[in-house]
Symmetry: C2
Subunit: 264 residues, 2 copies
DNA sequence: CAGTGGTCTAGACCACACT
DNA sequence: GTGTGGTCTAGACCACTGA
């Protein structure tokens, strides 16, 4: 029983969690029990012990395992559910979120048709090759410049109307085995594929948007006039432990579509 | 004690909340106690009984008033804090959020300088006049076409560099008294002014972004070339009870600035 | 110091899904 | 019916703020 609580993810049933005592005055951090439980559960998720889409143990079981009350486990799960790491389904259990699930498929795509009608999305891969990271890419993925990344280009269509051109850069140490062939077989979202094939779940992303004039190649791909205005969306995507694994540059044709965002 | 619980906001100390029994099968709605408490508290906020920036009664006091346990009040407050309606400050109390507070000033402005350095924001009002709502404005504000709205134009500068041109349309029944004079005196955010002067708190907004080519007038105001790409941000802003009170069209010069968004 | 929010517990009971 | 999450309670104690 240590004050710096960090045992194995599934400790013996008799293991009890102990709150740390009087941390040094210079480090004012104090971590409540439920956060320590949350850390344990995050480790389990990061280690892939609980796979996307699967049910995690019940609250009472976890409470017994960790040697805390159900309410404490509950609070840990509450936070993780708020962060879309887990989803609770009353009467059934608590599940690991998955981009594979229709409920959260294309969850990170904020592009919407102006008329609000649903569209069939389709990803059309164009290229997929290994290359050294340029400075910007390396910085975004926290790599050394020149380290290998997987560069991927694709179009996204809504009901066969091409709306987005994406250039993506993925950590090669994780996604290096990906090929154009595999991408062409795929009919679901890329993040869904990444989960199933590489066990990497995208949990958070930062996007930066600006308006740009279409360059020749992009204009041609999106079937718009050269120099016509496009929305440039730059995205860094993170997996467990805030590790950046994808850097993406997307050109959105926002004439009949728009980027939707809800503020609160 | 009614099943359709909706008494005054601050009932007598002995008032007890009662869960409704077996609602009709066609209406499957079931509202837990803490949500009923939340509704009561929302009424108090909407009615202005608890003003922005002020402390609300303590959890134990509210529990006594509503005749429920502290934990139930707590859960109601938790939800409202998550929605940025209230802020908890340990050891001090729970407060009504306010755009007036430096911590949430310009909370809805997602524009950021590319270099990340802080900038001094300044609003430069251009015009302010009553006019009949056009179709789009009326729809956004849920008014009949032709009803009166207050039209307002302004520039936003970051360290004296003009970056945004905004056209806003406000419900005249609420904001009709606003004048250019008042706007020119103001040195804080508009939403802060609206709170202080009209008691209307903006709590939620929907934004739709697209790229457009700058028209002559806008280009001139933002000091960019005509037809150069701008980010058009359309926003509907809501106050308590999901009532839309503002419809806004903003042109953002996103060459050295970008629209930032975090996905999860 | 007193008062506020924050954590944790143990136990009872409700709503929901499946079998 | 059984098992899951969801609600509610009452009480103890901790952490933080400010007088």
């Amino acid at each position: 029983m240590s004050a710096d609580f960090h045992p194995s993810v599934v400790p013996s049933p008799t293991t009890h969690v102990v709150r740390q005592v009087a941390s040094s005055p210079t480090t004012p951090m104090f971590s409540p029990l439920y956060r320590q439980i949350k850390e344990l559960m995050l480790s389990a998720l990061g280690a892939g012990e609980w796979a996307p889409g699967m049910a995690i143990p019940s609250e009472s079981e976890l409470a017994a395992r960790f040697g805390v009350s159900q309410g404490t486990v509950r609070k840990a799960i509450d936070e993780m559910a708020a962060e879309h790491l887990l989803v609770r389904r009353q009467g059934k259990g608590t599940f690991v979120e998955s981009h594979n699930d229709p409920r959260s498929n294309y969850r990170f795509l904020h592009l919407r048709p102006d008329d609000g009608k649903a569209r069939q999305k389709r990803s059309i891969p164009l290229s997929c090759k290994l290359q050294p990271a340029d400075r910007v890419t390396a910085a975004a993925l926290r790599l050394a410049p020149g380290e290998s990344v997987l560069a991927l280009e694709r179009l996204l269509s809504f009901d066969d109307e091409v709306v987005v051109f994406d250039q993506m850069f993925l950590r090669a140490d994780i996604f290096g085995e990906l090929t154009l062939d595999v991408l062409q077989q795929e009919d679901r979202s890329l993040y869904s594929l990444f989960e199933r094939r590489f066990g990497v779940r995208m949990i958070r992303a930062e996007e930066r948007l600006r308006a740009v004039a279409a360059e020749r190649r992009v204009a041609k791909l999106l079937k718009v006039e050269e120099t016509s205005p496009l929305t440039l969306v730059e995205r860094v995507t993170y997996t467990y432990g805030d590790q950046p694994v994808e850097w993406r540059r997307g050109f959105y044709a926002t004439d009949r579509y728009h980027y939707y965002n809800e503020l609160s």
